[in-house]
């Protein structure tokens, strides 16, 4: 094993993120607010550091641009860390999602009760992103676990970021408890796998693994550990409370970037490491997918609080994401990555709008606030409609294409089991369309005594919405996007 600094060149995304983290830390340290913190009831106020957010966004953009070119495959640090064009694409997508989060976070961060924590927010997010990058690139279960923890622990701080709000602290506690519990379960599973394969390197495990009851149990434990992260049913119980309690921006981040990274990792590990157990995990996965999609859809119908609603919607979307893995093929990886990309823009669009409305509605995110929104804020309502249509899989928006590719990937094998699962998933698209249409109905058809007054969003919200809407409208019809992902395979 030869170790020299040139190996870091293969780790460009991590290196630039690390540099970004250091820069943000220094900038925050130097310019931090010296005066004692005074909490007032005032909702808005001039931010003491108006340049901070654009600065971080520009650095984040630079990070994306530096790493956008597909990297060649390499493995460094004793093959613990691997990279490939596909992994590069996934990291770019995650960074892209994070950039949108940064852009739209500005309004919320300039509130007096969080403006002094602005630097911490960026640092925490960047460290979770760094953890996710490590997780995606890992070729060894220990590095994978480190990445996972690095992504989870700062996330708990983020969830509890609005610590003066009771909800937020509660959500943070719930999140960290489930995260540690799931990590424990996962580690337990890994010990079984280690016992059988005698190694924790992915490729060696893949080579040595045999289908014994013990490895099967290890696989199931491992699966449930990641299932918590992706919030698949029956590991979804934390989702609704955490999504509701966390600040809306964080909920958005949690639902797209965190979920996307975990889903991609689970996909590659199931396909490559547990290839020997494919027979078994296909049944396991099929059942979990059907449960996730169906149960989450049925629960979503009953929700009246929009963030809880989006939590259940995201559980069901997770089911669709995992559907791509059913086919166990390269096309599945492409379809999954594409789905994540489309899901990032559509869901972030929804959360940006929820966040904008929440600001004007005293922090309440009930669906009632959306009654008659079209009459007062037509543009916002229209963008929300587009995003919801994309989530529901209505063409010509990107969501329909991503769903179609996922179904294609799942059916590539052509087994009756896969057809059954896809059929159930398809029936569920009808249910999901029903509840997405409920919001559309609230905005366009329902009458309201006192609808939310018309307001002008600030430029950051607009920018974030513009990016998301462009994505929703174009990622589907411009085949370049899919080709870009497919070429990286």
């Amino acid at each position: 094993m030869n170790l020299d600094y040139s190996q870091f060149f293969h780790m460009m995304p991590e290196v630039t993120l690390m540099a970004l983290l250091v820069i943000v830390f220094i900038v925050d340290f130097v310019t931090a607010h010296k005066a004692p913190i005074v909490l007032t009831d005032e909702k808005t106020g001039p931010s003491p550091r108006p340049w901070f957010n654009p600065l971080v966004c520009i650095f984040m953009l630079a990070h994306i641009l530096v790493n956008i070119c597909p990297t060649e495959s390499a493995s460094v640090f004793g093959e613990m860390y691997v990279t490939s064009p596909m992994i590069g694409v996934v990291k770019t997508i995650l960074a892209f999602g994070t950039l949108i989060v940064f852009i739209q976070a500005r309004t919320w961060l300039s509130r007096p009760d969080s403006t002094f924590k602005e630097g911490e927010f960026y640092m925490l997010i960047i460290s979770t992103l760094l953890g996710m990058n490590m997780m995606v690139s890992a070729n060894h279960f220990l590095l994978f676990f480190l990445g996972l923890e690095m992504a989870s622990v700062p996330m708990a701080c983020l969830v509890a970021f609005d610590k003066y709000r009771h909800n937020s602290a509660e959500a943070g506690a719930k999140f960290i408890l489930t995260a540690t519990f799931s990590s424990g379960v996962m580690l337990y599973g890994l010990t079984f796998i280690y016992a059988d394969a005698g190694s924790l390197y992915f490729n060696e495990v893949a080579k040595n693994l045999s289908a014994t009851p013990m490895t099967l149990m290890g696989m199931v434990f491992f699966f449930s550990g990641l299932g918590f992260k992706i919030s698949l049913v029956p590991f979804h119980f934390w989702t609704a409370d955490t999504y509701q309690g966390a600040p809306t921006t964080i909920t958005g981040y949690l639902s797209v970037v965190s979920k996307g990274a975990a889903a991609f990792t689970l996909c590659t590990i199931l396909m490559h490491v547990f290839g020997a157990l494919m027979q078994q995990w296909q049944y396991l996965l099929g059942i979990v997918i059907v449960l996730s999609i169906t149960i989450a859809n049925l629960f979503a119908i009953r929700q009246t609080e929009l963030k809880r609603f989006m939590a259940f919607s995201s559980i069901s979307q997770a089911g669709y994401i995992m559907l791509a893995v059913m086919g166990n093929s390269g096309m599945g990886v492409t379809a999954l990555t594409y789905y994540i990309l489309v899901y990032v823009v559509a869901n972030m669009s929804v959360f940006t709008i929820i966040s904008a409305i929440e600001e004007r509605n005293n922090g309440v995110t009930d669906m009632d606030a959306y009654n008659g929104l079209y009459s007062t804020n037509p543009k916002l309502a229209f963008l929300m409609t587009l995003a919801l249509f994309s989530l529901g899989g209505i063409p010509p928006f990107a969501g329909m294409f991503s769903k179609f590719f996922v179904f294609m990937a799942a059916l590539e094998q052509g087994s009756a089991w896969a057809y059954l699962i896809v059929f159930i998933a398809l029936i569920n698209t009808v249910i999901s369309l029903y509840y997405y249409l409920l919001i559309v109905k609230a905005m366009y058809i329902n009458k309201s005594e006192n609808p939310l007054p018309a307001f002008k969003s600030d430029c950051n919200t607009r920018l974030a919405l513009a990016i998301c809407t462009l994505g929703v409208a174009l990622f589907g019809v411009c085949s370049y996007v899919y080709d870009w992902i497919f070429a990286a395979l």
Binding site: G414, L426, I427, Y434, L437, I445
Partner: protein, 398 residues
Amino acid sequence: MQLKPLTKEYFLWFTLLSIGVYGFFISIDLFTMFMFYEVALIPMYLLIGVWGSGKKEYSAMKLTLMLMGGSALLIIGIIGIYFFSGGTTMNILELQALHNIPESVQKVLFPFVFIGFGVLGALFPFHTWSPDGHASAPTAVSMLHAGVLMKLGGYGCFRIAIVLLPEAAHQLSWIFIILTTISVVYGAFSACVQTDLKYINAYSSVSHCGLVLFALLMMTQTSCTGAVLQMLSHGLMTALFFALIGMIYGRTHTRDIRQLGGLMKIMPFLSVGYVIAGLANLGLPGFSGFVAEMTIFVGSFQNNDVFHRSATIIACTAIVITAVYILRVVGKILYGKVADPHFEELTDATWDERFAVGCLIFCVAGLGIAPLWASNIISDTLGPIIEHINNVTAIASL
């Protein structure tokens, strides 16, 4: 036409609906076809939900979800056709030429595709969205929806289900012939007992669109020509019907036939238009309905076995029932005493309404008086396709 303040949005969604319809008919690729099917579907929700009347929210949701359910079945069928054809194409023409989907698979996929499109074509147990949807939709949407959108179902059933899965179509057609026969007769009977003008016309559409699917399943060249003629003819006369109902409703503010009467005295132009539409609908010679239905029944009767012939005879009875409900409505609302003294002050059609109605009547009558030019075009195009369907089966049965 009374549109609420959001006129701009109305036309936006309406245009999107038209895009979907046009796109569907011009696409020769399974995926694009499916995509446009759904593009046409979603504006309906807002068009009915926002600008509709009556229990519009319920109808809009019901319509959207049922059609979306149909499209869910369709995806399975489309992906199945793609993978089992062994090719790497979704082009319908190439798939048709390839023709190598195993028969056992065809039998599984055929119901998915046929029902998927059949929902839109108001196939019997899946037709329930149609009366509610049509009754609640604003006039222009009803016209486009019953006139054009429901034909997507028939076209899709033929182009994808029957042409790409011909063996299964021959073997399973009996199930769907029974269902469509029920559609035809049941739709007509249901129309007899309705009291809302739009419901009557919507059930009549179920009956007539059922006839389209019925004729397509008979799979003779004459019956399929008749099916296409019926699509054309029903599209025109149903649009005429809904336009007239919209104009009458705009004046009297009721569509309940019990509250209407003597309109012939008050608005003669609209009433005459209504009579013409009614006569075309019940298949009077000289109008398009006669040409289409005649061709369909003659074509269906060419199948010389008991099942097909008895199905044809049962379907034929719908003509009589159609006459019952059309003449009942015409007699009730157009003749007799003026039901409400307020109606005396109402005006007849304005020049733009006259123009629209005139155009449609011209087409309906034109197709009825000189049908050959249309039926020749249709028959020539259908020839090779029908030959393909029947050849394939002949080879398979050897």
